[in-house]
Symmetry: C2
Subunit: 144 residues, 2 copies
């Protein structure tokens, strides 16, 4: 589906350093959290790790929500006080939690490549799961 | 409930220029969009306007979602390549769409005060509705 998105939107998804991920529990109560993420080369999947940054709990609500309800939405945007420069890209898709295997390894490789910070945190050695989002739809908007 | 939140988190909510708002439809499919917003002086409500910026449609999905399901989540965060400086504040609450009356006027006044850009866009004259979120819970996190 990503071929429908304009080039600037795909570039923004590739280059963005932070996204905000919305999940919802089975009763439809949404939760939005900032996440580091990476778009796979083919544009079909977005990955995000549960990394070694300190967390309140390992039983993260985003994971519980995805287990209950795979629908997610991720936005990458640019805020600017000059509102004519505002733009955003929303990815809608279905998420799965990947605890092990080649998909997790690919996600970890791509995240390490994009974020050198993960090297210091030892992401590769971390046993945390990865969220893999199968992209279903991309909505791109800019002011102009 | 906002009195539970640490001072830095309330300051971040007050000073933040952009938040990301998650809504979900009745089937639990979430949507996240960047929004301008303002926290009321008493900390009990957050307002966001459907302003005159160009939109795909006036039948915005965020409005349809809120009509179906009032639960929302708003995050205000700071991204930094130095991850020890990461922090975020999440507001969870119940949203209502306010088409007219004193609550809408208060929201518009506060938004105009915070964002001078709205003056150029003629927000006050705009007949668009306002989203008023009754704050139920604030979750604050920082790396340290």
């Amino acid at each position: 589906m990503t071929t429908d998105a304009p080039a600037w939107a795909l570039a923004m998804l590739r280059e963005g350093r932070v996204g905000r991920l919305a999940t919802a529990d089975v009763s439809g109560r949404p939760l939005v959290v900032p996440v580091c993420y990476v778009l796979d080369a083919d544009g079909h999947r977005v990955y995000s790790a549960i990394d070694a940054k300190p967390k309140r709990t390992r039983q993260l609500r985003r994971l519980r929500n995805i287990r209950e309800n795979p629908h997610v939405s991720l936005v990458v945007d640019q805020y600017d006080e000059d509102w004519s420069r505002l733009r955003y890209v929303i990815v809608e898709g279905n998420a799965e939690i990947v605890e092990a295997g080649p998909l997790r390894e690919r996600a970890i490789d791509l995240l390490l490549e994009k974020y050198s910070q993960y090297l210091a945190l030892g992401l590769a050695a971390d046993r945390g799961p990865v969220i893999a989002i199968a992209v279903e739809r991309i909505v791109a908007w800019r002011y102009a």
